[in-house]
Subunit: 380 residues, 2 copies
């Protein structure tokens, strides 16, 4: 056995922890904090309340919330500008807010444009700004991963990757996730569960990541349905949030696989929620995947409470049914055919997820999967 697990940031978990952001910032000796926060959270007054907490600790702050959807180059540029001159970056929101905050914390110290670091063109600065991450969706695991994604000038997805992007402190506050609508709770929860599943079963899977991935599967598999159906059940919300955080640690070490190849390929065609796209990709491939019948697939199935990997396809479809995930694509996908999706699935940037999949994916397989996805109704 041989493995490496990247460092895991300090993690604090508890209801109403968002009231301790100011004290946490003071713990880093911060004097000027830059806050990247989802627009609707800022409008709800949360940005002002955080600013007041920071002011109570003698910390000046400013915030950036002029973004929506997946991060674009102009968002990460504006956030970098806002963070320049600060000594701490705080990200509060979904994966986009956290990704923007992580990039800004790196670029603000070096003065370089985010494009300078995209696709590993140059090494990241060794001493980025300190970062506190407060996820308000349970999905991307961005709070514990070294990955960020944004859309480049030509509309392509670009990555900035490196331990320098990782959080120093993660605050997990289930109460912050309670207002997330049911469909987003389900989509994000599936994304997190699939992170854990793919990290635990792909070709890069190892003991160190499986420790976190299996715990994530236990937590999310046991609580996602309740979190969707009973939005105020903070215990269930907390389990999904914690599971998402563990899943982030798992993908930080072992990456993902075929379901994420498909979801990134879909995003290359038209805007679609990443969690929904990943769930659709997962359901479309899990029956094919479990034919590999590896020890890792069976162990992941057991972590989900199943007897064996062969039960996974019906488990996945059943959980999608019970959490109300409609098998459909946004209307923006009208006009794209399966050949278009297959081409995206074969695009260079999506090959790591194809190659890491435990079964070899032939071009014929890609054609079959693309057809399954693109025959879904385009009605969302």
């Amino acid at each position: 056995m041989q493995f490496t697990t990247s460092f895991v940031p300090e993690i604090r978990f508890g209801n109403d922890l968002h009231r301790t952001v100011g004290k946490a910032a003071a713990g880093f000796g911060a004097r000027r904090a830059a806050l990247v926060i989802d627009g609707f959270l800022a409008q709800s007054g949360l940005a002002d309340r955080i600013a007041a907490q920071l002011a109570d600790e003698g910390i000046a702050s400013r915030f950036f919330s002029s973004f929506s959807g997946e991060p674009k180059l102009r968002h990460v540029r504006e956030a970098t500008e806002m963070a320049t001159g600060c000594d701490l970056v705080i990200g509060i929101g979904g994966g986009s807010a956290l990704d923007i905050a992580k990039i800004a914390a790196c670029c603000a110290v070096s003065g370089e444009d985010p494009m300078h670091y995209a696709l590993a063109a140059h090494p990241l600065p060794a001493n980025p700004l300190k970062k506190i991450m407060v996820p308000t969706t349970a999905g991307t695991g961005s709070e514990t991963s070294a990955t960020t994604i944004f859309t480049g000038p030509e509309g392509r997805k670009l990555w900035i990757w490196g331990p320098e992007t990782k959080a120093d402190l993660v605050l997990l506050d289930p109460a912050l996730t309670a207002t997330l609508p049911a469909n987003l709770t389900a989509w994000c929860g599936f994304d997190a569960m699939i992170h854990a599943f793919e990290a635990a079963t792909n070709r890069n899977a190892h003991y160190g990541a499986k420790l976190y991935a299996h715990e994530a599967l236990r937590l999310i598999g046991g609580a996602l349905e309740t979190a969707v159906r009973e939005p105020q059940d903070l215990e269930a919300r907390g389990k999904v949030l914690l599971g998402s955080c563990h899943a982030g640690i798992a993908i930080d070490n072992c990456g993902t696989a075929i379901a994420h190849n498909i979801s990134h390929a879909l995003a290359g065609l038209a805007p679609v929620h990443h969690g929904l796209a990943t769930a659709l990709g997962f359901e479309s491939t899990i029956g094919w995947l479990v034919e590999a019948d590896t020890a890792d697939l069976n162990a992941a199935a057991r972590a989900l409470g199943l007897q064996s990997a062969s039960e996974l396809p019906s488990f996945v479809s059943g959980l999608m049914d019970r959490t109300g995930i409609e098998r459909a694509l946004p209307a923006a996908f009208t006009g794209f055919d399966d050949a278009a999706l297959a081409a995206e699935m074969r695009a260079p940037e999506n090959q790591p997820m194809r190659r890491s999949t435990i079964r070899e994916i032939t071009d014929g397989d890609i054609g079959v999967f693309a057809a399954r996805i693109m025959t879904l109704p385009k009605t969302l």
Copy 2:
């Protein structure tokens, strides 16, 4: 539920990883490395081989190995002096080597004497030297904990505690532990297992620490006997080493309990191996402890492969038998009686471990436990 888990360093696991120390040091951009290494390892040529690896990377190095037994003030002073002017500290050896290295990495940047930081008299420097820890015994978990212990000028145990003492990178190389004699393998392994058990079951136990502690119990409980009986079984050695590392993470968050109260109290009387003392303390108290019958005690028992906490006393005694742990104290304990041990168990520095124990420990209980220990033969 509410908890905090401190950061976990990057962990690399694999046979012969000690051959990658030079490359790991280069990864930190080091130019001058200070090596704290057990004397017998240095004499075996390991220090020279590490120095050659470092030289291959253009890194100058010096080493300190003039210590034996538990660290004394002069050892940490000499190591600090050696590390001053370096930009990286590497600790290779048992818990003492790692503790000395961790202290030196802090004091070398500030120029302060180790006594300046003892018992939290002053805050540690915010930016200590980078630290690579390479444990060669599977026991203390010092490679993942924030604690260091040394003996002060008046012979008292002193602590330096803080996240600043923690490793940046841990290299776990089972091959390095293969020459450890059977009795030390057993003593250190019990120490690690008890770390995990106490962290998972004391009053401070929480979800975040139990994740690591239960895994440590699974690993050590399943492999310790083989590691002792088949010293060249690197798979078993590796499981105990990894378990010890996880147990270090667990105590880093939740601390220990009664068995460590007793082992520290014993060390206050006369020199005794910490692992042996802890095992003796554990066996003497586990029957009393499990009467509490808490959910945590039962969960820890299950992680050890048992049905319930009530099976723990016979499990512990059986494993001590099978790993050849003699129930005896060193001859240096002749002349001390149970009142002397009871007084140490009630000493202020040992009260945190008394208070954290899940059952209240009366002065009467202390008298009973001290009598059990001090009636052991003093023949080692």
